[in-house]
């Protein structure tokens, strides 16, 4: 696709959901951190797959199977190029970020031994906490945490002091889903490599907001979900360096991941198929490729600038609401704003905003340790995508004022 100048109206026109009414009001969708809306090209691609190409992949000599296989593998290539991975077989299709992280925890985890250490941070999503706790229980490893400041920034001095030759893996989020903080992953990766530890970056909240180049980052694993970056649900990616993936045992056994099976013994298929047991979400994988083509048609620099402007504008406007308190005031942030308004409960505010057609997230955002840190039950979170506008921010501000007026 050809790159076009950043034209917000043209972009919005491609997302049908943005034009629907909710409770009789024009939808204002500010829950992009949970999932993004889908452009028409992605929706069409899914339809087209089921209408014209549907067949199982990697296992048929007939035309449909060959067409489906090449569409699926082309999607893999598109994704490889987008994140600048060295090889397409370093791109593993999974169900999503959670599945990608579990794959590493179970497979790479098999290589760990009692006493080995894993480092995560205090701002991880539950899906980047629980698989490691389970691994530590299984293998007798030790889980350590990088603490964060009240501004919502990781303490990298303490991180450096946690690292040792016992550290085998550091698993950290690129961007906090609850706070919007962009972590200094360059430093985190370099420091971990200095002690010989591997690094997994949870990219669920970053790849839709900024260019990602896994070779420049030099991370060993990078995980993300399709549905948060304008693709289908139920499909995601695990990027892993070939040298590491090839030493890891398979995660699940089944069809497609084998080379030869006898009743006694199986030899495994090569990368990436070793990690893709069973019939995958074929339509999803192909649709995800289309989502990346769509992103390729946009100017990522212009998107970053637009989202930064939205973040600054919304933050300034929100400050006019009496009794507002922000959670996550890091210097480096993406367009995510978490807040509470004195004298109101997030559930009540979220319910009333919904009545006005405004979708925000309320609750703990699957990050209970962060909520415990601030000693709050949850927050109201507005998370923007490039298709959001300042006019929508204005609607949210009026909605919040109205809700607060009713609740106080």
């Amino acid at each position: 696709m050809e790159k076009t100048a950043f034209d917000i109206e043209k972009i919005r026109a491609q997302f049908p959901t943005l034009h629907r009414l909710v409770n009789g009001k024009q939808l204002v969708y500010f829950d992009n951190g949970a999932t993004s809306q889908k452009p028409q090209v992605v929706i069409d691609r899914l339809n087209d797959y089921y209408a014209n190409e549907n067949a199982n992949i990697h296992r048929g000599v007939h035309t449909l199977s060959q067409e489906a296989t090449s569409a699926y593998e082309e999607a893999r290539n598109t994704i490889q190029q987008y994140i600048a991975a060295q090889h397409s077989h370093e791109i593993i299709f999974t169900k999503g970020t959670t599945d990608s992280i579990n794959l590493v925890a179970f497979s790479f985890g098999e290589l760990l031994e009692k006493g080995d250490e894993i480092i995560i941070s205090a701002m991880e999503h539950h899906s980047n906490i629980v698989p490691w706790q389970m691994l530590c229980e299984r293998k007798g490893c030790l889980l350590k945490f990088i603490p964060m400041s009240t501004k919502g920034e990781l303490d990298l001095d303490i991180y450096a002091s946690l690292l040792s030759t016992k550290t085998k893996l550091v698993a950290v989020t690129h961007v906090s889903n609850a706070l919007g903080t962009v972590n200094d992953v360059d430093f985190i990766i370099k420091s971990a490599h200095n002690v010989g530890a591997m690094v997994l970056i949870d990219g669920a909240q970053s790849i839709q907001h900024m260019p990602v180049n896994v070779m420049d980052l030099d991370c060993d694993f990078y995980a993300f979900s399709g549905h948060k970056l304008f693709g289908p649900t139920g499909v995601g990616i695990l990027y892993g360096k070939e040298a590491i993936l090839s030493t890891m045992p398979p995660y699940q056994g089944g069809g497609d991941m084998i080379k030869e099976v006898t009743l006694e013994k199986t030899t495994y298929n090569s990368l990436p198929h070793k990690f893709e047991a069973g019939t995958p979400h074929i339509a999803g994988g192909i649709g995800l490729g289309t989502a990346f083509e769509f992103l390729n048609s946009l100017d990522m620099k212009a998107i970053e600038a637009h989202e930064k402007e939205l973040l600054e504008y919304a933050t300034e406007r929100l400050k006019t609401i009496e009794g507002i308190k922000f959670y996550g005031e890091a210097t480096e942030k993406v367009s995510v704003i978490s807040f509470l308004i004195e004298g109101t409960h997030p559930y009540d505010v979220g319910t009333l905003l919904d009545k006005m057609g405004i979708a925000v997230r309320t609750g703990h955002h699957c990050t209970q340790p962060i909520m415990d840190f601030y000693k709050i039950p949850g927050t109201i979170r507005a998370s923007f995508a490039f298709y959001n506008t300042k006019e929508e921010v204005d609607i949210m501000i009026s909605g919040l004022n109205r809700a607060v007026g009713m609740l106080r």
Partner: protein, 139 residues
């Protein structure tokens, strides 16, 4: 004492005058603000239902063969709805509470608050109220 059906109808009639969501929610919020629902000493961990969104405390007792419920929530809309539930279910017999179907919530257009995605503790609260009644009926 009015029956559960009569109390439900009373609430449905009260809400019938509101044709606008705003008025309806203002009324629920007022209910939530007005009602001291549970004794502070009963806001204990074992009476707490942790929803993802809001927290609910519920206490059940049996007096003279009737179930007496008190409950509270940190969210005011949840609290207002709790007030309505208690109005219908409290002072009813254990048998009636155990098999209550509670059609009024849907009738007054608040069904969304009982959807699993809300996870505001209300669904668990109704389950606990019924379970308490079942337990009391065999005691």
């Amino acid at each position: 004492m009015k029956t559960m059906q009569e109390l439900e109808q009373e609430i449905i009639d009260e809400f019938a005058i509101y044709d606008d969501w705003m008025d309806k929610y203002e009324y629920i919020i007022e209910l939530g603000k007005d009602l001291p629902l549970i004794d502070a000493s009963k806001k204990t961990e074992d009476r707490l239902i942790k929803g993802c969104q809001s927290r609910v405390w519920v206490d059940a007792e049996k007096q003279d063969g009737k179930m007496i419920f008190t409950a509270d929530s940190d969210a005011i809309i949840t609290k207002g709805i709790i007030g309505l539930l208690i109005r219908v279910l409290s002072h009813q017999s254990t048998e009636d509470v155990a098999k209550a179907e509670l059609k009024f919530i849907k009738e007054i257009g608040l069904q969304e608050h009982l959807s699993p995605t809300r996870s505001n503790g209300l669904v668990s609260m109704i389950q606990q109220m019924k379970l308490a009644a079942i337990k009391q009926s065999v005691n």
